[in-house]
């Protein structure tokens, strides 16, 4: 099956309405991802890395981030985290799971378990980690490990907000599981600026396996 190439359309709108709301000179960026058909794209991770004046490494949250399993699916399809974040994989199903990753950014496995896994996994290298379950081929999830705290994941409406951005020039990177090629561009955040970044994405068809029909859950999330 040939890939469907989706053209990219960009639109930048400058605005300053929300500058005062931030209580400082920090700006914000609204992102809106669309596919070639103009439909909003969810689960796209948009991150910004400040250029010229390196920021301090982001501080990971104290509590581990959960990626649960329910109805024999990962509850979150894409989970962006900052480097050094710990993740737990609570299993809320009635069957066991065997979560693994063979990705370079993080190789691990949590052998067959059920309920809350006692094991937390530390993601200490940047990159995309593909999660799978060894006994359920259709289960797939991604952890995007970032070196910046300026990121967002688009929702079902294809929008996301990155706020608290010190004015300056940023490197914008987008990642999506179905994305063909890369999206990387520079944007400038004005003091107390509030811009909307429309990001067109070129996606290939979803090739996830169809799960067995009697598995009691409904499709992908």
């Amino acid at each position: 099956m040939p890939r469907i190439a989706l053209p990219l359309i960009a639109l930048v709108t400058a605005a300053s309405r929300l500058a005062a709301a931030a209580g400082s000179a920090d700006g914000a960026i609204h992102v809106l991802t669309r596919d070639a058909a103009g439909q909003p794209v969810s689960n796209a991770v948009v991150s910004l890395t400040r250029l010229g004046d390196p920021e301090a490494a982001p501080t990971p949250p104290n509590d581990p981030v959960p990626i649960g399993q329910r109805h024999q699916e990962f509850e979150t399809y894409v989970t962006p985290i900052v480097m050094g974040t710990r993740v737990v994989f609570p299993n809320q199903d009635t069957v066991k799971h065997h979560v693994y990753s063979v990705s370079k950014a993080k190789r691990f496995e949590i052998p067959l378990y059920i309920g809350d896994s006692k094991e937390t996994v530390l993601f200490d290298r940047p990159g995309v980690v593909t999660l799978g379950c060894n006994i359920h081929d259709w289960m797939i999830a991604y952890v995007v490990v970032l070196t910046t705290s300026h990121f967002t994941k688009t929702g079902a409406d294809g929008t996301g907000l990155i706020s608290g951005l010190p004015p300056g020039t940023y490197d914008l990177v987008v990642w999506h599981p179905l994305m063909t090629g890369t999206v990387q561009q520079q944007i400038t955040v004005a003091p107390a600026g509030d811009a909307t970044q429309v990001i067109p994405l070129s996606l290939h068809p979803d090739r996830r396996v169809r799960r067995a029909p009697d598995s009691g859950s409904s499709g992908y999330r």
Partner: protein
Amino acid sequence: MRRFRFRRFSSRLLVWIVGLLALVQGATYLLVVRTNHANAVRRINEDLNLGARLFAERVNERLKDLAVRAALMAGDYAMRELFLQDPIDPPTVKSALASYLSRMDAQVGSEPGAPGETGGSQVRFMVLLGPDGALLGDTGGPLPAASLPSFKKLISRAAAAANDPRATGAAQLGSDRKLYALLVIPVFAPQPEIVAWIGLALPIDRAFANSLKQNMRLDVTFVHGGSGGREAMESTLDSAEARTVAALATGAAAGVETIDLNGDPTLTAFRALPLPVLTEGTVTLALQRSLAAELAPSRELERFLRYLLPASIAVAALLALALARTVSQPVRSLASHTAVIASGDYRTKFVLQRSDELGRLAEAFNRMSDGLAERDQVRDLLDKNVSPEVAAQLMRDGAALGGEERDVTILFVDLRGFTRMSETLKPRETLALLNRYFDRMSGVVERHKGVVDKYIGDALMALFGAPVAQSNAADRALLAALEMRAALEDLNAEFAAEGQPPLGIGIGINTSRVVAGNMGSARRLNYSVVGDGVNVAARLQDLTRNPDYATAILVSATTLKAARGSYRTRDLGTAPVKGRAEPVAIFALDGA
């Protein structure tokens, strides 16, 4: 040029029947041969196309089957762990792949040890490749390294196939450049994330070719075509034949060609390998079947026909001859019977116990011979009733009324004293006596080529010079008259011996121009003469009664004048004749 004619009916019948039969059977034979040939060619054509399809199906089925097995392996967690270890552990990967190879080649669903079937060819080697096609591990040997470029091509094709990233192709590998079918399938972690590829190679070798030969009776040759020319790789043929085939394999085509293989016309289909060729050059699949082998059963039939057809012609010839005999035999005997009839034998009947046309012909023939006998009888009676000359003339000219003028010498002879004698005799004796006398007299007439015209009571009228003209008719009449007188003397001598009284005769002779011809009614005719001259002759005969003349024979002057011979005569002057103004000069004839 003379037209040929049959001399015998049997030859004609034989030639026609045998000729017709030979024609029909010859045509039939040729038709059978042609049809057999056409059918054989059609059958081979079908089988060649079927064989090509079967080959493609077998290769693809086998590869599909292997793909399923390899996919199961790729999904195996332990294998995946092993394959993706960093750094990779080649000896372990090699042993694990070997272990899987033996698992995959287990003859699932088929009897163990059954050769030649789809599972006959064993996977030769397996490789583990990175997402970019780098070799991560293999089952050993030099072939995996050689196969890398081909697998890389396959990986790029497979990656392009969205939902089912797998690809197959063919490659020639190793120093002997053997042909392999290659397959790559992805290792997912999880799907659709491809983290590695598994490749395997299935030899397309003699075993494949042989299984096709066993099932389809087709010879199989794989021909490699490249910059170095064409060469046969694997073949069920011997190497010389395979070389011939390779030389002719100019490329894959849809049709079927006939090529000469050691003098044996062999139908050949050159087809492209049903897999894309990943290495240099082309690979052509040549499928063949010998026409002679295909025609062998038909040849058996044709040979049988070659014996049967002449045999049936021979039987038909014998039957034709027998049939001809049933016709020609009666016809021949009829012909010989015709000779019998021609010889005048009408009594012998032609016997043919048949009720068909020939039987009817025999009956008709017999009726004809009856008719001929009857006609002959009539002729005989005619001869007796009329003089033979008249009869002959009647037979020749028919009994037509008519006449002609002719010089005829007429002779009348009358019996003297017969009336008196008959008074003393019984009628039968009278008739016998008369007939005896007439017999002598007619005999004399005939001896002198005269014609007895008629009997008038005891008188006899004879003609000389009619109906057949005679130059010396007068002499004949005169000599006949003299002999009659002598014959009467002999007869009288006999009578004297019998105690009968002697008879006397009077003869009158005249020569005159008279009308001769058939006289009477249309139903009943007499050949005779009429004219004054006849009366004169009768009158002269009557005058012999005159004792003054003292002669039994009176002759007119015209007769003596017509006669050439010299006779002793006496001139008796003239005598008047009734109904005639001029008297007639008469002479007594005394001797010759």
